[in-house]
Subunit: 300 residues, 2 copies
């Protein structure tokens, strides 16, 4: 390792010669931004002098900088690399860096420098799918579809994957409209399924949420690319049919219970609350809480 | 573009000369595996002849192959690139590819070749955090902590991020034990919060779930790296204190309601069900369904 550092010094001296691009040894460390956990973030896009650097020179520079970071007691380094500068990924990997994540036109590599195993937080672990159980109380009919290309002849609720930043209820309403042409509004969250290593999730986990929706249009205009069939079915029939998935079967019976005994028996309702410290809002779902408990009036 | 293809032919002819490495023009297309959506997956790690290819040659090869894929009506291409071969990322990006995801020692790039906007499924969009509300019914005490480095003086439930492939309840039990030394078992799911652009989620969304746990050990031995304080607090006190986060405040009152009126009023219980077609099992959470509804006996 010492040899490499010496090599770097020679190279740095050459590069820093008059008229050269002048890549200084502390180029990377100067660009590092300290986080509150003792880690450093380095955004290569913000370092103009890297533009013409070749991979061998980058490796030497990084190796020398890593020595410095270690001596300063840094716990971790994050390298943010624009996709056009991806030539720097392999040399960083040869020094122990690995991918934390990548998306669109940028990747992020990490190296744990602290003691023991890495304590760095992981990246997103779940995709979120949402289905809408659109139930018309006045007719006791529920909106169901059969998929075009999988689970043929199995009645299920229309649904699909949440888009980035999309709220659960919004996904349900959007997917129902895209698949069936039915307009609806969010009422409650009925069930959550967690599944790991599910097909189509790129090795990640899947959270599948079924919402209860109330329709405000009733004429079906289904998407032939996604659906083979789509209809308003009597809820009793859906609760009894064999031609459905276990989860649809179960939620149909749950809905029947709610229809007969009150939806408050089955609903997680939604409320928007302020996040601590960030100025953002979030949506919170749980069983409806009586007003007296929310305010704690008259309680001791 | 035609010029490039011609250039590629010249180059391919040179490379394929006797004694050369023999990189044939259909190297990438032969390695492509067709998926059921009309897309192609190409795993560069499985193509030995790429080992010594430089980036210019790779770009020409890829460009020519893209022409072929387009003429064959392919809708999308997935390039799986080992981290050591990341020199091929920038040339692919210059032809329109971008990162779909990357993890550990591999990245995956995609290019949409179909009509209209890309219909490729996205990658995982959510991290999942789980907290445990460990409630001892016999003493009406609830286990609460104060964080070491954030939200000082705010009582909250112990918890943390799910590890890859970890079930919700298992995360709650693990995090409670790691933070407080208390052993517990999963009872139910009480609330779900969805938040976007939350700090520490790398631009992704956050799903935060609070579970009700039952303790079976009671002596606190808290982790001083994570917790400033940890104690068994009377549930009434937690429901009334100002020194807590809005979500803890709310769930404390929800628990009080459940404690007084029956936990069936607030619980989503869990059941394991078989997945369709995959031979896997998943966990499903919803309001407890009376047995008569599960079996539909005596219902018409």
């Amino acid at each position: 390792m010492l040899l490499c550092v010496r090599g770097f010094r020679l190279w740095a001296a050459r590069r820093a010669a008059p008229g050269g691009p002048g890549v200084s040894r502390d180029l990377l460390s100067r660009a590092g931004e300290l986080d509150r956990y003792g880690g450093l973030s380095v955004h290569l896009a913000r370092i103009g002098a890297l533009q013409d650097l070749d991979t061998t020179a980058f490796r030497k520079l990084l190796l020398a900088t890593m020595q410095q970071w270690r001596s300063e007691g840094r716990t971790a380094v994050w390298l943010h690399i624009p996709i056009q500068q991806s030539r720097f990924i392999a040399p960083a990997a040869s020094l122990g860096f690995c991918f934390h994540h990548a998306e669109s036109d940028s990747s992020t590599l990490t190296l744990w420098l602290g003691e023991g195993p890495s304590r760095l937080p992981g990246y997103a672990t779940h995709q979120v799918g949402v289905a809408g159980a659109v139930f018309d109380e006045s007719t006791r009919k529920i909106l169901v579809v059969q998929d075009q290309d999988k689970l043929k002849n199995m009645w299920k609720f229309p649904g699909g994957l949440s888009e980035p930043g999309e709220d659960i209820g919004d996904t349900a309403v959007r997917e129902v409209f895209e698949e069936t042409g039915i307009k609806s509004e969010f009422q409650s969250l009925l069930s959550i399924r967690q599944q790991h290593t599910s097909p189509g999730a790129f090795g990640k986990s899947d959270m599948y949420i079924i919402c209860r929706l109330r329709p405000y249009s009733f004429t079906i205009d289904f998407c032939p690319h996604e659906c083979l069939r789509c209809e308003w079915m009597d809820l009793n029939d859906l609760a009894k049919t064999e031609n459905t998935t276990p989860i649809t079967h179960r939620v149909a019976r749950l809905l029947l219970y709610g229809y007969r005994e009150g939806f408050d028996k089955i609903d997680f309702t939604m409320e928007e609350l302020p996040a601590v410290h960030t100025g953002l809002f979030y949506k919170l779902y749980h069983k409806e809480l009586p007003e007296s408990y929310k305010t704690m009036t008259g309680m001791d």
